[in-house]
Symmetry: C2
Amino acid sequence: MSEKSSKVSTESYKGVRDFYPEDMAIQNYIFGVWKKTVESFGYSEYGASVLEYADLYKAKSGEEIVNSQTYTFMDKGDREVSLRPEMTPTVARMIAAKLKEFAFPLRWYSIPNLFRYENPQRGRMREHWQLNVDIFGVKNLNAEVEAIAIASKIMTNFGFKEADFEIRVNSRKIINYILNDLFALSPEDSYKVAKLIDRKDKMQREEFESAVSEIITKRNLEFIELINSNNFEEFVSKLPENVQEHEGVLEVKNLLEKLEELGITNTVFAQDLMRGFDYYTGIVFEIFDKNPKNKRAVFGGGRYDELLAIFGKDVVPAVGFGMGDIVIHDMLETYNLLPKIEPAAKLHLAVFNEDAIGFAQDLAQKIRETSVKVTIDYSYRKIGDQIKYADKNKIPYVICIGEEEVKTGKMKLKELATGKETEVTEDTVGYIIK
Amino acid sequence: MSEKSSKVSTESYKGVRDFYPEDMAIQNYIFGVWKKTVESFGYSEYGASVLEYADLYKAKSGEEIVNSQTYTFMDKGDREVSLRPEMTPTVARMIAAKLKEFAFPLRWYSIPNLFRYENPQRGRMREHWQLNVDIFGVKNLNAEVEAIAIASKIMTNFGFKEADFEIRVNSRKIINYILNDLFALSPEDSYKVAKLIDRKDKMQREEFESAVSEIITKRNLEFIELINSNNFEEFVSKLPENVQEHEGVLEVKNLLEKLEELGITNTVFAQDLMRGFDYYTGIVFEIFDKNPKNKRAVFGGGRYDELLAIFGKDVVPAVGFGMGDIVIHDMLETYNLLPKIEPAAKLHLAVFNEDAIGFAQDLAQKIRETSVKVTIDYSYRKIGDQIKYADKNKIPYVICIGEEEVKTGKMKLKELATGKETEVTEDTVGYIIK
């Protein structure tokens, strides 16, 4: 059973991460900032299993994408199961299932792990965790304002300054108007151009323009000029005069004004912002890292009012965003904003020999009642080695317990950083450390 | 795309759970008690992916069990992958991978979700979450004492009394001595009887005894009498005199004494306690619910010093236990110890019309700075309906904001439970609520 000849690998599965305590502490810090911020806006946490029926994703993404980009397999009961690649279909499913029971609006958040089948690279792993924040049941623009205010607050709570990032906004209604009405593309061509716009930032300028010109064969220079506009006013001025008050244009204008009123001024209109997912129906937005060495979208979201239709339900207005752990971890690192890790214990009890262990265990129990984290050394090795262990584990205080301490109950609390010693008893030690 | 004819099911996958906010709040409460307790003993959290190479489990459990009882599938790169059925192989893998880097002992915990392929029934789902607590690098019995002290402290922190549960202990060394030496069974017969003992509580007395007698054909009455002993003294007295000081007997005796010294007195020796897993090597223990209506093992653990051998590593002494979320949730319910759920917000801002919304958003931002959770009503419906919404969501306070409030900055804070109104300003409201 324990033959060394048939060794098992100590590597984790390809594209996923092990979280050793120091990694987990940072992960917990990120989750903690997320939770604290969204809960201050009155959002409730929900959760679900990572396993979902594959049909949940096929309805929107199509069979082919689900099969090629997700972990999907047959269970022993011949059910086709996926490891969830995103959380939005799950939350839509949960809301559709109990639609009649809720008092809308609902403010919900979750921090699920998500899987996608792709080759791992920096910032893109096969598994990541993602904060999902959604408000359901608000038709007006206040939902978008709230979602963007939360996104912005998360960034400042992490320690980023408004100058470090910008908030890009657009409306799918504008894009749809341009493609379907202004340039009168067929649904297929419209979809192709939309996909090209979504990938625009990852393409060379010429490559993008020639690909677009292959689909939009008439007035293509006009289209390219429009999609390359530098700001909102310039963009609007290029639209036909009778549509400068188009619904999509007005909601972007209104949104930028409302955000400015709230003191959020690092916003820009981005006429080429798509945010991938097919289900967005109105405003889309993203947080963009302005660091010259690392310009990129960090996270984003938007309005998706029609997703519950896949369950045969009526429209439920919905605005939400998702924020991944890996991309924010990288950004915190770049800006030198990762937190200092707290040690697992504040006090280590070094114990001379077995006669002193019962005393140490009793003492530890009492000190823990004062919310001080305590570890006990069970090795009976040299006291110097026990202190070295505390030091290596960054535990700041040590008490050595031997015959004298057991007899008198008087002990010396040693602060390792300074070497300073303070006389304590079991009643005082917890409070002195705090 | 949104045709209602091809409806997607709103059901979750078979045997897993959706966590609506009220379910998640209870789950978070359980996780919170776990975390707070184990961290007070200086344990650090670690984590890993739910995906592991299937080989990790085959080494100990065998190909057949892994294939029939776990979720195992081939990925697109022809790697055989499992959804982890337990956490111990993962933590052993992580420690084996960085063995040279650690200063032992390590005190680690995690709260992973685990999957097993079986038909769902009360208390047994296909996915559950499990607290895993392990101490690595302590050879002596103090590790077992600490693990049991933590387990006991978790129970009392949940609000259970010592009289509600008992802590059953045994040593695999005693079982091994009885089967291999005292009754001189072959390894195969020994394994079969061990499995029978493990299932003893789920069998009729006669069924167990006749099954044992088929394997132990000589002196089987003697064996049955021994395994049915009522207490530690009676059990020891039935052993041959020259082995009454057997290593396993002494460690159980020593452990019970040490726990009593620590004030943990609800312990019993259970000579028929096995705790399933093949990898235990010494003391095993379990927490047992004494409720007459629901007598059963709640959770347990033990010493497993040899698990790192599967990675070709030397012995690393290890003691740990696992505690599932479903079984503790059921027990909390039985004892009426589930917590009262806190509302997601403390204050709801009811807003008369769009002219007041900017004021409300600013006010909410300021109040959130005082750590009070605030929601805003964006519906512009009748104020009475906005207050009803707050009431339905158990939000205790409401402020109504209209023209007058925007003009003067003076507002009335209404406590819904009493109807009491207090005049407040943006500077005082947060502190009054707290």
